[in-house]
């Protein structure tokens, strides 16, 4: 079955409440795992004000979709939604929001962690700390 997917690369703030409101969920699904990555106040032991994210947009989208394809082969995931914020992301605001739904807990956790690990290997997004 094709995995439902939603990918957003945006310079706007990640609106968790709005994302929750749009969750589709079929009656066979028993587990939802979310991950939220938030900009920390220190980067390499130096205080920062924000992180600036840059993407090679069209390649990033393509690489995310390859990962979603591969994820669907490995786990019975029903849907994946991923939002990566780009541009300046201030300290304490989220840069990444990921949601994976699957029939069971173990596969939802495994798929979500795998996706983030892979993203950090292949998706062309870079960060630059913005000093205080």
């Amino acid at each position: 079955m094709p995995i439902q997917r939603q990918l957003v690369l945006t310079t706007e703030r990640i609106d968790e409440a709005a994302l929750l409101g749009r969750r589709a969920f079929s009656p066979g699904m028993g587990a939802v795992v979310y991950f939220l990555g938030v900009v920390r106040e220190m980067e390499n032991d130096a205080p920062i004000r924000a992180i600036e994210y840059e993407a090679f947009h069209k390649m990033a989208e393509h690489q995310f979709n390859l990962l979603f394809d591969e994820m669907a082969k490995r786990w019975p995931v029903e849907s994946v939604r991923l939002v990566h914020r780009l541009g300046i992301v201030p300290v304490n605001e989220p840069s990444l929001w990921v949601e994976v739904t699957a029939p069971h807990r173990a596969e939802a956790f495994a798929a979500c962690q795998w996706l983030i690990d892979q993203m950090k290997q292949v998706v062309p997004i870079w960060k630059k700390p913005v000093p205080v």
Binding site: G37, Y53, E54, A55, F56, K58, M59, A60, E61, H62, Q63, H84, S95, L96, I116, M119, K120, Q121, V122, V123, P124, I125, W126, K127, K128
Partner: protein, 88 residues
């Protein structure tokens, strides 16, 4: 007289701090047909000496796909050179 070597046009995009190192976001360049990505990376290192030390860790894509260094360039290929990615 030998036929003139056929030239192809490629563009090279730099991302992240490679833009700072090169002072350049997009480098349009002509290379002989048959040139590989490895050779193009060497040319980039010669033209922009500050990326030369980055060659080992550099990631290389053509269009939206990663490619191996033995990939043979085609006319109008859009090559991208960038440091390890850091999303998340």
């Amino acid at each position: 007289m030998a036929a003139p070597e056929t030239q192809i046009r490629v563009t090279v995009n730099f991302f992240s701090f490679f833009k700072e190192l090169t002072g350049c976001a997009v480098w349009a360049h002509s290379v002989p047909a048959g040139t590989t990505l490895a050779q193009l990376v060497d040319l980039a290192g010669t033209r922009f000496p500050r990326v030369e030390p980055m060659k080992r860790s550099m990631l290389v894509a053509v269009g939206v796909e990663y490619q191996e260094r033995w990939y043979v360039l085609k006319d109008k290929d859009e090559v991208s050179l960038f440091p390890p990615v850091q999303g998340g």
